[in-house]
């Protein structure tokens, strides 16, 4: 048991020593997003909108990752609205109360367009996301797991960007 404890302590220490560098990387770099709109309809997507969707979705994940790590609700304001924002605010408030935080190392998103409303008012996409997730209570690492997850996403246009209105994980296949 003592050996296990020592090993666990060593592993945790190693992770902590790596973590700040990873966090700094997450702060400075936009997650990679590959967008495929070949099967999206009924409205055809304009080139500029396609670029904006990829850019804004990446920015949304970047802010979500920072918000979950630092327990800062305000970071969600820029790219989240509606159900998604309400949900993540709830999670971050709970995290702050319990002392828990989550750290994601984003390894990229394959985003596929599903539906783009004829009036351009809503877009639905499916994201296959790869990331490592770590759960901490204070400084103590409780859980770590490399994850591939699919999300169904609803995005709606705001004045100068597309906002994530729903980001819901789908059951594993």
């Amino acid at each position: 048991m003592k050996v296990r404890l020592l090993a666990a302590t060593f592993v945790f220490g190693l992770i902590f020593s790596l973590a700040p560098g990873k966090s700094a990387k997450a702060d400075s770099l936009q997650p990679s997003v590959q967008l495929d709109v070949s099967s999206m309809g009924p409205r055809e997507i304009e080139d500029l909108t396609e670029k904006k969707i990829a850019r804004d979705y990446a920015a949304a994940w970047k802010t979500l990752i920072a918000a979950m790590d630092q327990n800062r609700i305000g970071l969600l304001n820029d790219y989240f609205t509606g159900f998604a924002k309400t949900e993540f605010i709830g999670a971050i408030k709970d995290q702050a109360v319990t002392g828990v935080h989550r750290r994601f190392e984003d390894r990229g998103h394959k985003l596929q367009g599903i539906f783009y409303a004829q009036d351009g008012g809503v877009m639905q996409l499916r994201d296959t996301a790869q990331y490592d997730v770590q759960v901490f209570d204070g400084d103590r690492l409780l859980y770590t797991q490399p994850t591939t997850a699919t999300y169904v996403v609803l995005m709606t246009p705001a004045a100068d960007r597309w906002m994530v209105r729903l980001l819901q994980q789908e059951p594993p296949q």
């Binding site: 828990v100 004829q118 009036d119 490592d132 169904v152 819901q168």
Partner: protein
């Protein structure tokens, strides 16, 4: 940099798994209680880490822990952790959306000219009681009603939680109600059908006290519907002083405006893409 971290992560996981056991169902509908069974003994801490909720409670290891339905409302992957002071055991529960019970209905535009094919776009998003998107196929019915009573209805299957439709506007101005229904849940939106472009736009002019008093006949579209109040009519005057214009909103089907009278002039009237008649003043009509 990435590979060493992954190796460390895997090593960490194997250590956690060896430490204790935690058993919970792999999946559960949203809002339903889940029972997890912990192993070990002594005091521990139980964590629920989900997409919209996080909790932390003291437990006795080796006992059952109940996670309330209110903690499991958001669909997605939940990490359950039972931790002693030295190690944690884990279980993952995937919370699936419950049955459809709510509907979000987006309808665009709110005002539409009459007799326009596929001018109205309706998108309905099917949700469960906890606002999770229900991606399993379900049927949404779109019902159109006018002041004369219910009209056509169309049941449509959802794809990935969304059903959408396009409707043509009717031949008469006035409101139409469009309702999207799933089970007991209904959402109604109203679209105001307004007259189309003006037809046979005609104005007349009178002179009084050095002013030109300009007034249209009642402005209607080609089907006889009055154009809505606020629609802009533009009067243009060309005289020796050059060209001047004045915009006037329609009020009760008629647009009125005044312009200074400075001798012989030609006055024209227009609204949107429609040009009306031309009037000459001061040189005979």
């Amino acid at each position: 940099m990435r590979k060493p971290l992954s190796l460390v992560c895997l090593l960490g996981i194997s250590l956690f798994a060896a430490a204790q056991g935690l058993q919970a169902p792999a999946k559960s509908p949203a809002g339903e209680l889940v029972t997890a069974t912990t192993s070990g003994s002594g005091e521990g801490t139980f964590y629920v880490v989900g997409p919209g909720h996080v909790s932390k409670t003291k437990i006795q290891l080796g006992s059952e822990v109940q996670v309330k339905g209110s903690e499991l409302r958001s669909a997605g992957d939940y990490i359950l952790l039972a931790c002693s002071t030295s190690s944690c055991s884990e279980a993952r529960v995937f919370v699936e959306p419950a049955q459809p019970e709510k509907i979000s209905f987006l309808l665009h535009p709110s005002r539409v000219p009459i007799s326009q094919p596929n001018a109205i776009n309706g998108v309905s998003v099917v949700m469960d009681p906890y606002r999770n998107l229900v991606t399993a196929p379900s049927t949404v019915t779109f019902q159109v009603s006018t002041k004369d009573g219910p009209g056509a209805s169309a049941p449509l299957k959802t794809h990935n939680g969304i059903a959408w439709t396009r409707l043509s506007s009717g031949p008469k101005e006035g409101p139409i109600e469009i309702q999207a229904t799933i089970g007991e849940a209904k959402e109604t939106r109203v679209v105001q059908q307004v007259a189309s472009d003006p037809c046979n736009l005609h104005a007349s002019v009178q002179t009084a006290d050095g002013r030109l008093i300009l007034q249209t006949d009642p402005v209607r579209d080609c089907k006889g519907n009055s154009l809505p109040d606020g629609t802009i009519v533009t009067f243009t005057k060309v005289d020796k002083g050059g060209r001047s214009m004045v915009d006037a909103p329609i009020k009760k089907s008629i647009a009125r405006a005044e312009m200074p009278y400075q001798g012989a002039a030609t006055i024209s009237v227009a609204s949107g893409v429609t040009l009306g008649n031309e009037i000459r003043v001061g040189g005979g009509r």
